[in-house]
């Protein structure tokens, strides 16, 4: 293979005439972080509501929540992205459609929305499993002391359920960062798109994707360690502690 290695490419000026290639990768990283973090907030909020509804006694709410999860996790993320970005503006009333299309940073908002709602389905599924893993007596104990059902969730069930699902939530957090790369298909200049653009203009494909890879890995290592610290701080004495199996009781 004949390939001209040039690691110095990162410090050369990119086609925008102002920033270096490294700089444009950094811009990509910022878009990736902004997208992933915003989507994560939506995923946690919507996923928590849907997950709680799936365990609620009202069968209609539970059915609605189940429907949400099945819809959003059974359609490929890429297809969802296209549906939100290309199809939605055409099927809504034309004034709204035009407004959507002219929205500045439309691809950013679309990605945040799409990725958030998609990941929410997965968070909901995990939260449901976390709540169901608690003994039914916990719910009864909360209700028996006079807490309402929402209060029982708020003070008794959810604090334990979230602790239990912290490890899989960490994986979802990593997934949302990685999945944000799908946004390049609708034109968001996030990290993967930035690396691709660098490769197209400079022909330094290995350097470009090595740079992107390292940035992804560093971000994810930070997330993993942050979540581990969180797990440790939230560990419950005698029940859930990092690295040790739950104590028998």
């Amino acid at each position: 293979m004949k390939y001209n290695w040039n690691w110095g490419i990162f410090f050369e000026i990119s086609p925008d005439g102002v920033h270096t290639y490294l700089g444009s990768l950094m811009f990509g990283m910022v878009w990736t972080l902004a997208t992933a973090l915003s989507a994560w907030i939506i995923a946690l909020a919507v996923g928590s509501v849907i997950g709680v509804l799936r365990t609620a006694p009202n069968p209609w709410l539970a059915r609605f929540a189940n429907g949400y999860v099945e819809l959003f996790r059974n359609i490929p993320l890429l297809v969802q992205m296209f549906l939100w970005y290309f199809v939605l503006p055409e099927v809504v009333p034309s004034s709204i459609g035009t407004w959507l299309k002219q929205l500045p940073n439309a691809s950013f908002y679309t990605t945040v929305f799409c990725l958030g709602l998609y990941t929410a389905a997965r968070v909901a599924e995990q939260l449901r499993a976390g709540i169901l893993s608690l003994r039914s007596g916990q719910r009864m104990a909360g209700l028996a002391m006079g807490l309402t059902l929402p209060q029982t969730y708020r003070y008794v069930l959810l604090p334990m359920a979230y602790r239990i699902i912290l490890p899989p939530l960490t994986s979802e957090f990593l997934n949302i960062i990685k999945n944000s790369a799908v946004a390049l298909t609708i034109g968001l200049m996030e990290l993967t798109a930035a690396a691709r653009s660098m490769q197209e203009f400079s022909f330094q494909v290995f350097e470009a994707f090595t740079g992107a890879t390292i940035i992804y890995i560093v971000i994810n290592i930070i997330v993993v360690n942050g979540m581990r610290i969180l797990e440790k701080r939230l560990s419950v004495p005698g029940y859930i502690s990092l690295g040790k199996p739950a104590a028998a009781h």
Binding site: R135, G137, Q138, M140, A141, G142, L143, A144, M145, G146, L147, T148, Q151, Y155, V156, P159, M160, R163, V236, P237, G238, Y239, A247, H249
Partner: protein, 242 residues
Amino acid sequence: MIEIDNVSKWYLDFQVLKGCSTNVAKGEVVIVCGPSGSGKSTLIKCVNGLEPFQKGNITVDGISVGDVKTNLPKLRARVGMVFQHFELFPHMSVLQNLTIGQIKVLGRDEEESRVRAFKLLDRVGLHEFADKFPGNLSGGQQQRVAIARALAMDPIAMLFDEPTSALDPEMINEVLDVMVALAKDGMTMMVVTHEMGFARSVANRVIFMDRGEIVEDAKKDDFFGKPRSERAQLFLSKILHH
């Protein structure tokens, strides 16, 4: 205080309670016993509405439990319940377990609920465990905390659902001692248990259930003297042998 009138309950086609009627007067201690699957735990959970029932009526202090208009959380706050598996909240310290209901349900302020909590921890002999977590306590200690937690709400009656069944034998007495003291203080108690020694020492009445029916509802001395039903005699002969 607690009136149970002709209560029936079904799980789909299976009838778990068949026309149960009894009552617990103020200050009375009533034991509910019977073989497993007889419906005794289900019955006691109907009393504070944790289990719904399809027929009959239960009133607590004159308030109907089955009535859809009844504010169940408000009613439950006045009836303490102790569970077989303790059901302390594992992410809260012992003290928080005792104050959460007082603060969130009764609207007491933090200081007031702390004072009340420590008073009750003293009573069950666990003052120095206030800052520990349930996972660090033995089963007997957890159950004593659970009793204190229920008492913190100043209940008008206490329900016990097999409070010693999940305990190691050496821890049963520390829990029973607390319950005996409570009974002697005049607390209205409905207790599902197989601890016949406890029944003998504090019960006013003993209810024997089998297959969803109340087979026997007798004064303590009558029950232990000579139960009228064969099923109760058989049950007693089995559990009193050893």
